[in-house]
């Protein structure tokens, strides 16, 4: 019997992804970003908070590749360290949102009925607020700090994850292997954890990647408004905010953090879209 040679699913997805040039660009950007975040202490040329007023507003030159800001701090170093802070915020808030969102979405999707109604209406309430405003309101309530920023962004991301999880759970629930699991006596919890969620992963993975982009934008936005990470921490949004006043005199102080935000957000978006395409044909199997 000639059997088909089967490649591991991860391998097939990787192949699909490789063909999508834009997704590859996204992957490179994200990898670079993560690399900077992890190895910041080793690759940053200067201490990001070290001030040197004599060198304020230096344009990009050999010693300071991206120039210096209003306090004479090296912009390149601040950008590299900014990646670290941004990644920390992204990971913490997204993990928070994932845990709560998946729990709520899975419960709602699996049980349906009143539980589903209640959970979804609550999600609708959260979604009724324009995203940024909700995060803003929460931070304003709790006070600006890194921890509160993470909580705010986490909470405002919950409804998306809940919705996506619920949709995926509904689709999986229609399959006969769920009924089969009930027929051998599996408990509901076991069915959700072992049978439903592992098969609902694809859309959740895509949503996570895309969400990282949104979270970064929101964090930067809040930072820009002064409600996020406080100076002298080199968060990109905060950097943008301080550079506002000097836009005409020393535009490079604003341009580089702005570019950093833009490129990283684009990177996550490209990667997320590419993952969505690569994972989808697998779903058809």
């Amino acid at each position: 019997m000639t059997e088909k040679k089967i490649k591991h699913p991860a391998f097939v997805i990787w192949n699909q992804l490789k063909k999508n040039k834009i997704a590859v660009i996204g992957l490179i950007i994200v990898s670079l970003y993560v690399f900077c975040a992890i190895f910041a202490p080793y690759i940053s040329p200067y201490d990001p908070t070290k001030q040197n007023l004599a060198e304020s507003f230096q344009s990009p030159n050999v010693r300071h590749l991206l120039g210096c800001d209003d306090f004479g701090r090296d912009i390149l170093s601040r950008i590299i360290w900014g990646a670290r802070i941004s990644l920390l915020i992204q990971l913490s808030s997204v993990v928070l949102a994932l845990i709560i969102g998946i729990l709520l979405g899975a419960l709602g999707g699996y049980y349906g009925g009143k539980i589903d109604e209640v959970i979804m209406r609550f999600m609708d309430i959260l979604l009724a607020f324009p995203g940024m405003l909700l995060a803003l309101a929460i931070v304003a309530m709790l006070g600006p700090s890194l921890r509160n920023l993470i909580i705010a962004i986490g909470v405002y991301s919950v409804p998306q994850f809940a919705r996506i999880t619920r949709g995926a759970v509904l689709a999986v629930r229609a399959n006969e292997y769920i009924v089969g699991a009930k027929a051998i006596g599996e408990s509901d919890a076991a069915i959700i954890l072992r049978y439903v969620l592992p098969n609902a992963l694809s859309p959740i993975i895509v949503q996570t990647t895309l969400r990282m982009a949104t979270v970064l934008l929101t964090a930067s936005g809040l930072g820009f408004l002064g409600l996020g990470v406080q100076p002298p921490n080199p968060e990109w949004g905060t950097m943008l905010s301080s550079a506002r006043m000097y836009l005409r005199a020393a535009p490079h102080v604003a341009i580089f953090p702005g570019l950093a935000i833009m490129i990283t957000v684009l990177g996550f978006n490209f990667l997320g879209d590419g993952l969505q395409d690569a994972l989808n044909p697998r779903l058809k199997e």
């Binding site: 019997m1 000639t2 059997e3 088909k4 040679k5 192949n15």
Partner: protein
């Protein structure tokens, strides 16, 4: 009389990541005027690909008709442009599919869809086309045709939808109707309605029909001649009464022995050993040889040609080759 459709040595390949799928690998048959030819086989035998090849609807990439000729009324279809094929599709050759629900546009009324098909080929204004649709609905026994033309597909049952498809297919009086598993998705009690409709219309219009099915009962009731397909090739071809009463090819015999019958008891269903071949890596020589109890060394090396062993009864098997 010259046959209406003559297919010679048709080969259609699909180039995929997992390899080249030789969906059709040298298929030859003909359909006469006013004749019903049944095409029978299991999954992957190539019967649906035959239909889409004739219609020129093979998605390319990844598919490609790599060789052969399809003569329709003496005209070589494979040398026609897409523009020219579009004139033929729907008008001279019409097709109905297994799942009527996915062939009808859910947001348009069914009368409009039929009228649109008529307009596309003849320029007849839609308003007149809808009147004609109502006429056709009456012909295919759709109750209350005047009202039904204004209905949407989801308001009709499976059997009704299939009748709409048949009406659409016949609206331009095609010379050849290709029916791909027309009753497989329908309930048992509705099947006879649709089959009898196809038979009556075929008689009244004098069209030829290429009837594709995996159900041997359907083929035996409806078709004049039948071709049995396996792994992209025709292994046996002949008149229905000859082939079913005196099957020659080991695969045909195996199939007939493996089917349970509703009109007789069988103690044990004879099993064809093994599994269907891998379409990207079919067996050498005769593709059926790994599963054939009569296989000899010649069968592993050389592919047997389709040859007439009795009048109008052809087999592709070394056992019968002299």
């Amino acid at each position: 009389m010259e046959p209406l459709l003559e297919v010679r040595d048709l080969a259609t390949y699909f180039y995929t990541d997992e390899g080249t799928v030789k969906a059709l690998d040298g298929v030859s048959f003909s359909i006469g005027q006013g004749e019903i030819l049944g095409l029978v086989g299991e999954t992957g035998c190539g019967k649906s690909v035959t239909a889409t090849s004739i219609m020129g609807l093979i998605p390319s990439p990844p598919g490609k008709i790599v060789q052969g000729s399809i003569l329709f009324n003496g005209r070589e279809l494979l040398s026609l442009s897409e523009q020219q094929m579009r004139h033929i599709r729907g008008k001279d050759i019409a097709m109905i599919f297994q799942d009527p629900a996915s062939s009808l546009n859910p947001v348009l009324r069914v009368g409009f869809q039929v009228a649109e098909a008529i307009w596309a080929h003849t320029g007849t204004p839609i308003r007149k086309g809808i009147l004609r649709a109502a006429e056709l609905f009456g012909l295919v026994n759709i109750p209350d045709p005047q009202k039904t033309v204004n209905r949407y597909p989801h308001q009709l049952s499976g059997g009704m939808k299939q009748r709409v498809m048949i009406a659409m297919a016949l609206s331009l009086n095609p010379k050849l109707l290709i029916a791909d598993e027309p009753t497989t998705a329908l309930d048992v009690s509705i099947q006879a309605q649709i089959l009898s409709l196809i038979k009556r219309l075929q008689r009244d219009y004098g069209s030829s029909v290429l009837l594709i099915s995996h159900d041997l009962g359907v083929i035996s009731t409806m078709a004049h001649r039948v071709a049995v397909m396996y792994s992209g090739l025709i292994v046996e071809q002949g008149r229905v009464e000859d082939l079913f009463q005196d099957p020659l090819h080991p695969y045909t015999k195996g199939l007939l022995a493996a089917i349970p019958r509703v009109d007789e008891d069988k103690d044990e269903l004879a099993v064809i050993e093994g599994t269907l071949p891998n379409p990207t890596d079919p067996p050498s020589g005769c593709r059926f040889h790994p599963r054939c109890s009569l296989a000899t060394d010649a069968c592993k090396i050389e592919r047997p040609p389709l040859k007439a062993v009795k009048p109008a009864h052809e087999v592709a098997c070394h056992v019968y080759a002299r």
